[in-house]
Amino acid sequence: MGVPKKIGVYFCQKEAALPMPVDWDAVAEYARGLPGVAHVEVRSPRPAPDPEVLAHEIKKRDLKVVVVAGDSPGHFKPAFTRAVALAGGEPTEVRLASFRQHGAGADDGTERAKAVVACAVHGVPFGLAASPRPTAVNPATLVIGGGVAGIQAALEIADAGQKVYLVEKTGTIGGHMAMFDKTFPTLDCAACILTPKMVAVGQHEKIDLMTYAEVQDVAGEPGAYRVKVLKKARFVDPDACVACHACMEVCPVAVPSEFDGGITTRKAIYMPFPQAVPNAYLVDAAACTYILSGGKKCGACLRKCAKELIHFDDRDEVVEIEVGSIVVATGYDVFDARRIERYGYGVHPNVLTALEFERLTNASGPTGGAIVMKTLRRNKRTKQDEWVFDAEGPRPGSVAIVHCVGSRDKKYNPYCSRVCCMYSLKFAHLVKEKLPDAVCYEFYIDMRAFGKGYEEFFERIRLEEVFVVRGRSAKVVEKDGRMTIKGEDILKDRLVEFPVDMVLLSVGLEPACASDRLAGILGIDRDEDGWFRETDYNIDPTGTERGGIHVAGVCQGPKDIPDAVAQASAVAARVLKSVVSGRGQGSRASLTVEEIESRARALAGA
């Protein structure tokens, strides 16, 4: 290298920046020692850098290269670029050293920040200098979560001939998608496209399917993880069960059905849904009279099962598996609509959440797909009045759909859940399709119809005479004995009050409740909203800082089915790449500053 360039390093921060475990002064001190660095400055958040003042300084100090360092230095880059241009310099010589982007959020933030600054000073992309050391890799893969993303990733890997363990928390794979009726915007039936994949998983010789199981502990290192999986007792042998329903028919216990979003009940011995994979029964130990009474009561199913497959002496067991890669595809939970009281969920019987409506309108749902209102009926067993769906129940004459329930709201989830606009439009379509005379209102803020064919779908809904109201509805009240929804129709400049028979709340997506614990077990990060953090938002949306562990689907952030599937496949590429080449990706954390710096130096020289 010739004469060292005169490099200025500016540390800039925004006031609102997240507290990062970075000791800025230490990093600044480190930067001073880097070759070519002529000026280091730690700027306070205010005032914001003024390009003209900066230009003056840069000219005065004769800086040839400017490194802007900080949590999100991109916010300051245009100012520095303009300053360098004003100073007559080369605007391409403004480089970024982004702590946030390059993962200086972990415990060793300061060390990572130093490395990031070093790379910027050398003019080498951080990813290039800090690519983790390859590791040996066990070809087996663990996929956590059996929703569509997990299924896709598992199939993709297994179809390539590699061993996959698929661990699913519930009694069947399928996840949320199995609950859906139609999928937007093509309106194809979710079961039609998902069940063949589920069956393929169930029958795949390379996939070891562990349903009703949870990951308990992960030890080892990238490429060679040892995972403890807790297999909860199903009490029915899934391989031998012929799904004859005999046991279920005699079971006296009824608990809300998870699969039906709680709008119907299931028995204590149950199959989550008819197409479940494995297609076998299991016993909900928390509800089973026999188990709860220690074998003193009931046991009806035990006597009924002709194949004698019910074994109440089954116990949970922990199995240990060894894998090289882990794919996290744990999906999401939906926002609890009870949290927003003004929508009256839980108070008004016909205020439904999206999942409930999905099941209601589903041909395999409790009403055979008929959209009906809940009616009051006396439960013979409990002798109490209950609001239930009855296929013969009254059809709603008017339905309101409220977008952004729990989303885009600083009090609940500040982010956009990304799928609700489209599924709400789908709901409107289904309502109009099944009840052409029903009046349907959509209350929205921004209609986020951004995907392939989405905008056209929105146009179609308008043609179907759905009243699309720009303005999130404010509340559901009882007025003159009728449920009434209130909101502002912004485009028409009116306050609106529609009497409605049914309100559908387009609840947003939230990180699955166990993701906190899982993040701890796996040693991966979550972002401020609780989603798993990827290595790089843009170019590595599936990687994590911990080598060999990948995230796929909604657990990384809300996304629709095509995006989740694409991501799941992308993860498979990562896994297959390491298995095929025999070179796994180690953790970046294992690299020291010195190592990264010397690599950057070498790369810069090359």
Partner: protein
């Protein structure tokens, strides 16, 4: 045919079937059918003893065809096929009669149900006579991949594949790699450096011994089928290369909407109306000036230029909203005293971190003006007393007012559209385009990167508008598909597919366009069509359509289905 030795097994499924269907009657009936050597009724055919019984019978009674009347074939067909295989006969010599899901579980009249079961069993026996031994076959898989397009999607896929040790030919039309992303400085919503991420990838691609980068190159022709493509590539002005590849990834990206098409925005006519890409360049170069050399004070971003407008493109271009918000941040950074307006329809801030970015842009006092879809803001000259270059008039729908705002620089957020050569590419690699010119994926939900042409994949914005993370994920997904195929070395061809009897084909080409997977090839020299079995998915559409009866679908031959039809009806007519 008459000397077939058929075994018929009727499952009671505990009482699931036997409760309604008289299983013994079914097996007794079957025993008398021509060709049936043995018929049994058993409690659980799928259980180990049940399967053992079949295996033993096959061996001892030299059965050559098996009928199992039990549950849905969707449930246990693989189980029984395995049993046949274990017993040493071809697994396709099995036929199942579904007397549970579609009989005992749905009927309560025992007689009617038994009749139906008899008919189904009869049909199965009649059909199984015509079953042929089928074998899974394998064709070679060439490990090399042809990647068309050197943008972020192409680079990503090339790297994934080469990192796994597989050869890649990366064909780029331009004289440099990077594609449209090379024109971008910072990315939304985190304002990370696009330059760094591209520099990283390009460097790795160029240094990879497994990737051959062909710049200024275009694909001339592609022949063959999955695993065995041959591509002719024109390199530079007059070079040519022929490469053999197993897979093709199309990642040809998008082109920006030509803002000149919307005349009243005056792009090309009004000096200070620029496109988003032009503003991007200004920001990247640190020289943000009006045409007259003034530092602009008022910036107006007009969203949805060419997008969400049926006159141009009905679809949303997906990234422009976030890009406009990004410009808001960048302008306020470079010119702290400037004012920024966003004239938008709906704010599409849907990605991770995007809503937050939108909120922060708002907090920076960017003025958001909403106009109605189907209308457009108007750019008018400013008056003599105005301190701005232009005025923008817009019917602002959130206030319901006609308003005008001063503007020095109007930025048109041009949308994405399919490249001008997309139709040629589609034709070359035989994939389809939708009405907007985007390439069509095999299945929008479950197969967003494959196409109906086996072995040809699509990734990135050539499939539909999308941002960087989406393009990267798709590119990697496509790489996964390709790696999956490569890692097995051979491509397994399902034993069930359609085939053309060349002695009967007359080359009428009725079938050619019917196949959604382009599995049917027409050979102009011999004037015959041919089904590429490696690509065929056995739907049977062409079989039904072939007017000369030259195409037969394995395992679903006319013969087999006719026998089945006769089977269900003949029995019924003799009984009822």
């Amino acid at each position: 045919m008459e000397d077939r030795r058929i075994g018929v097994y009727v499952c009671n499924c505990g009482t699931n079937i036997a409760k309604v269907v008289d299983c013994d009657a079914v097996s007794d009936f079957a025993k008398k059918l021509p060709g049936v050597a043995v018929a049994r009724s058993y409690k659980y055919m799928c259980s180990n003893p049940g399967q053992e019984m079949i295996i033993q019978d096959i061996r001892e009674l030299s059965l050559d065809r098996v009928v199992v009347a039990a549950c849905s074939p969707r449930m246990h067909e693989p189980t029984f096929r395995k049993a046949l295989q274990t017993a040493g006969i071809n697994p396709y010599f099995l036929e199942m009669a579904n007397i549970r899901e579609q009989c005992s579980w749905v009927h309560d009249d025992a007689r009617a149900a038994t009749d139906k079961a008899l008919a189904l069993a009869h049909a199965a026996v009649r059909r199984v006579v015509h079953h042929e031994p089928l074998e899974k076959r394998f064709v070679d898989m060439c490990p090399a991949t042809l990647v068309l397009g050197g943008g972020i999607a192409g680079l990503t896929a090339a790297l994934e594949l080469s990192d796994a040790g597989q050869p890649v030919f990366l064909v780029e039309k331009d004289d440099h790699l990077g594609g449209n992303l090379a024109r971008v400085d910072l990315t939304a919503p985190y304002l990370d450096s696009a330059r760094d991420m591209l520099a990283d990838r390009i460097r790795r691609v160029l240094e990879s011994p497994k990737i051959e980068v062909l710049l200024r190159s275009t694909l001339q022709s592609l022949s063959g089928f999955v695993g065995n493509f041959r591509a002719e590539i024109r390199v530079g002005a007059d070079g040519a290369r022929t490469v053999d590849v197993g897979s093709v990834l199309v990642a040809t990206g998008f082109r920006e909407f030509d803002a000149r098409r919307i005349e009243h925005y005056g792009y090309g006519r009004l000096p200070n109306v620029v496109t988003s890409f032009e503003l991007e360049r200004m920001l990247r170069e640190g020289r943000i000036l009006t045409r007259g050399g003034r530092v602009p004070k008022y910036f107006a971003m007009i969203h949805c230029v060419g997008s969400r407008n049926p006159e141009y493109h009905g679809y949303c271009s997906r990234v422009c909203c976030m890009t406009a918000l990004k410009y808001g941040h960048e302008i306020k950074s470079a010119l702290p005293g400037a004012y920024v307006y966003d004239l938008y329809i709906d704010m599409h801030a849907f990605g991770k971190g995007c809503e937050d970015f939108y909120r922060r842009t708002a907090e920076m006092k960017t003025m958001f003006l909403m106009y109605a879809k189907g209308t457009t803001p108007e750019i008018v000259p400013s008056g003599p007393d105005d301190d701005c270059e232009m005025l923008i008039k817009v019917h602002e729908v959130l206030s319901g007012e006609e308003i005008e705002v001063p503007a020095d620089l109007v930025v048109l957020m041009v949308g994405m559209e399919a490249r001008e050569d997309a139709a040629d590419v589609a034709h070359l690699v035989s994939i389809s385009q939708d009405k907007d010119g985007w390439f069509i994926e095999s299945h929008p939900k479950l197969d967003p990167v494959a196409t109906t042409t086996e072995g040809v994949f699509i990734a990135g914005t050539c499939q539909a508008p999308k941002g960087i993370p989406g393009s990267v994920a798709q590119a990697e997904a496509a790489a996964a598909r390709i790696l999956g195929k490569i890692s097995r070395g051979k491509i397994e061809v399902d034993a069930v597919f359609a085939e053309v009897d060349e002695t009967r084909c007359s080359g009428c080409r009725m079938c050619n366009e019917l196949c959604p997977y382009a599995a049917i090839e027409y050979d102009a020299a011999t004037k015959r069509s041919r089904v590429i079995s490696a690509v065929c998915k056995a739907c049977g559409c062409c079989v039904a359509a072939c007017p000369s009866g030259a195409i037969q679908g394995r395992h679903f031959t006319d013969r087999q289905i006719f026998s089945q039809i006769e089977g269900v009806l003949e029995w019924a007519s003799s009984q009822g």
